[in-house]
């Protein structure tokens, strides 16, 4: 965990006081809606279909137990008893009253969380691998660098009014769990032949109505040059990015239109002018940030302790363990993913009671630390293996031990037309119906790893372009229809899915997905060929023939 200091606390308290004043002036009529709207958006407050929504950033997906417990409190007191974890490591409260927002924000600020820069054309919450500092795959803790970026980008005056919003993701592991290739800037931390730490820098990735996979413009940027290089990118984007058309304003359009090579030249030229300036990160500055991260005092343990071995005799526990428990870098410890996708429930939602239970369990078994992944699941990154049976029993009792992580019913879905003012079609009920088709988890396990992503409109908050099966809701003559893509992926081999065929109706989607899965089961080379690999080997045509013949 990163320890915030008095400066951070004072800053948030001032910000809450400022917002309280703004809300008061709006309610009194001193501010018009046109004047107030940009102010509320700067604090993460949206107006949705039937209520205000408060979006709270969870920097690099890391929470402590006190923060999660406070989110439960906000859900219980100011909302309807639940919160929604998003694909950008945020949480959203869907029913907040404007007149109560300052109180809710004050409660959150007391534990160091806020909604600043979760909306608007600024640098948004910097996201990273939810397994940071726990996975043996990584070369460094990526959150160090995300925190440096967070401090740099928070209220940065030059980048408060960018052409459009700007999203940065960082990974330090070979396997990319942060989807860096579909962000405006993706940073892959690695070491060069000399063992020095640096970043591969990708720009121009993104989804939405014009999706692109990011282009690499630098193989190795020395880590201490991170801020000056990011500033050079931001300046080139700020200067040349389009402001005349909201749909052409993201950096991906600029990179696409002038080409990655030209964009890179412009960045390098800008960087040459500023790289030795104030943004050069000294070893002392990096060490200061690094020292503010508090890590668990890991004890000397061995893998597969007797408590775990004994518990594995229970088939339910063993199934959960195989699905939701992952290798930790320290012997005797594990990473635990908590599925927020119980079959038939809205993906990514957690009740206030569940949040409190997870906070308690994190304190008892997980060094008081909780992570949020872009897959809309939670994670306890540091659990002693001997504690896994007790943890599982408590999670299971709370409905939080569904062993479906990375399976066909671990579906990523945006809020869709059930909440969102931008959506054309529903996403959550589609996910629920598909999940029910695969409620038999033995069947889902037989299918293996398969990511379904659903978006209720072209803005793609459900990342449908990079779903193994992507589902995009559209509206035709007042009816909901859904386009299906196959073969997308968000990892280190990121690619966009290929359209399967004509859009189908709301009622047809679950059956069509089931047919796609059945086709895969028939066509796969064997149980070890994943869905995504079968699609890569055969293309979408065999699926199209089979699926549309049936509909």
């Amino acid at each position: 965990m990163y320890a915030y200091d008095e400066f951070d606390r004072a800053f948030l308290a001032e910000r809450v006081a400022e917002f309280r004043d703004q809300v008061g002036r709006r309610l009194s009529g001193a501010l018009s809606e046109d004047e107030f709207k940009p102010l509320r958006l700067m604090n993460g407050v949206y107006l949705q279909l039937h209520a205000y929504m408060l979006r709270i950033a969870i920097p690099y997906g890391t929470l402590n137990a006190a923060q999660l417990r406070r989110m439960a409190h906000v859900a219980r007191v100011y909302d309807r008893g639940y919160g929604h974890f998003t694909t950008r490591q945020n949480i959203q409260f869907n029913w907040i009253k404007l007149e109560e927002l300052p109180e809710a924000m004050a409660a959150l600020a007391e534990v160091g969380v806020h909604g600043i820069q979760t909306s608007g054309n600024c640098i948004r919450n910097v996201t990273t691998d939810q397994w940071a500092a726990a996975t043996p795959e990584e070369c460094d803790d990526p959150r160090i660098w995300a925190e440096i970026l967070r401090q740099y980008s928070t209220l940065h005056p030059e980048f408060t009014y960018l052409p459009r919003k700007f999203k940065i993701a960082v990974t330090a592991a070979g396997h990319d769990r942060a989807a860096i290739k579909v962000h405006d800037v993706g940073l892959r931390l690695h070491r060069n032949a000399a063992g020095e730490l640096g970043f591969e820098v990708l720009v121009g990735g993104g989804l939405g109505r014009t999706p692109f996979v990011g282009k690499s413009i630098r193989d190795f940027l020395p880590a201490r040059e991170l801020l000056s290089y990011i500033e050079a990118i931001m300046r080139v984007y700020n200067q040349y990015g389009r402001r005349d058309n909201i749909y052409k304003a993201r950096i991906k359009i600029l990179v696409h239109e002038i080409g990655a090579e030209e964009f890179s030249k412009a960045v390098e030229a800008e960087w040459a002018a500023i790289r030795d300036g104030a943004l050069h990160l000294t070893d002392e500055a990096i060490a200061e940030i690094r020292d503010r991260f508090i890590y668990p005092a890991f004890e000397t343990r061995t893998d597969q302790p007797a408590e775990l071995v004994d518990a594995l005799a229970d088939p339910r526990f063993a199934t959960w363990h195989r699905n939701s428990v992952h290798t930790h870098k320290v012997p005797g410890y594990s990473i635990v993913t908590i599925s927020l996708k119980p079959v038939g429930a809205p993906p990514g939602d957690a009740t206030a009671d569940q949040m409190d239970i997870i906070a308690d369990l994190a304190e008892r078994y997980g060094s008081s630390e909780i992570r949020v992944g872009h897959e809309q699941n939670l994670c306890l990154p540091h659990v002693a293996q001997k504690d896994l049976p007790a943890l599982w029993a408590a999670l299971d009792a709370a409905g939080l031990a569904t062993p479906n992580v990375n399976l066909v019913n671990d579906i990523i879905a945006c809020p869709g037309l059930d909440y969102c003012a931008l959506a054309n079609a529903r996403a959550i009920p589609v996910a629920q119906e598909i999940a029910k088709r695969f409620a038999d988890l033995d069947r889902a396990r037989g299918v293996g790893r398969l990511h379904i992503n659903i978006s209720g409109c072209i803005n793609a908050c459900g990342h449908h372009h990079v779903g193994h099966i992507g589902i995009l809701g559209v509206e035709k003559n007042g009816q909901e229809f859904y386009q299906i893509t196959l073969g997308g992926r968000a990892d280190e081999h990121a690619q966009l899915g290929t359209l399967l065929g004509p859009a189908v109706s709301y009622e047809q989607v679950p059956g069509l997905v089931e047919d796609v899965v059945d086709t895969y089961m028939e066509l796969r080379a064997g149980p070890h060929e994943l869905f995504i690999d079968t699609v890569a080997r055969l293309g979408v045509e065999p699926f199209k023939e089979r699926v549309y013949a049936a509909h």
């Binding site: 809606e33 209520a51 008893g81 404007l98 007149e99 957690a350 037309l417």
Partner: protein, 102 residues
């Protein structure tokens, strides 16, 4: 698709003016008396673009009670009862189409 507030107004049947209440975002409907009600049954219903624009203009004169007014389709049944005219409005009136977490 653009939000209803951003679309060119087309009136092909009965419509009403709707918005969100300032204090809590609740869905409200413009009434014949020139106020706002959370009950669709209280909504002023018009059937021409000119009347809808007039209702909208009047609703937009004061933004202290409700925000983001726009024209929404409604259905009037044989008894004169009102219902939302499309899925978006049905969801605004009745809430999400699935059981909320509890």
């Amino acid at each position: 698709m653009a939000a209803p507030q951003q679309q060119k107004l087309k009136v092909n049947g009965p419509v009403a003016v709707t918005a969100n209440r300032l204090t809590d975002g609740a869905v409200v409907w413009r009434t014949k008396a020139g106020g706002w009600s959370v009950e669709l049954a209280d909504a002023a219903v018009v059937t021409t673009a000119d009347d809808a624009l007039a209702l909208l203009a009047e609703a937009g004169q004061r933004d202290l009670d409700a925000v983001g007014p726009y024209v929404a389709p409604v259905i009037v049944d044989a008894d004169g009862a009102l219902a939302p005219g499309n899925l978006r409005e049905r969801i605004r009136v009745a809430g999400p189409t699935f059981e909320l977490p509890h």
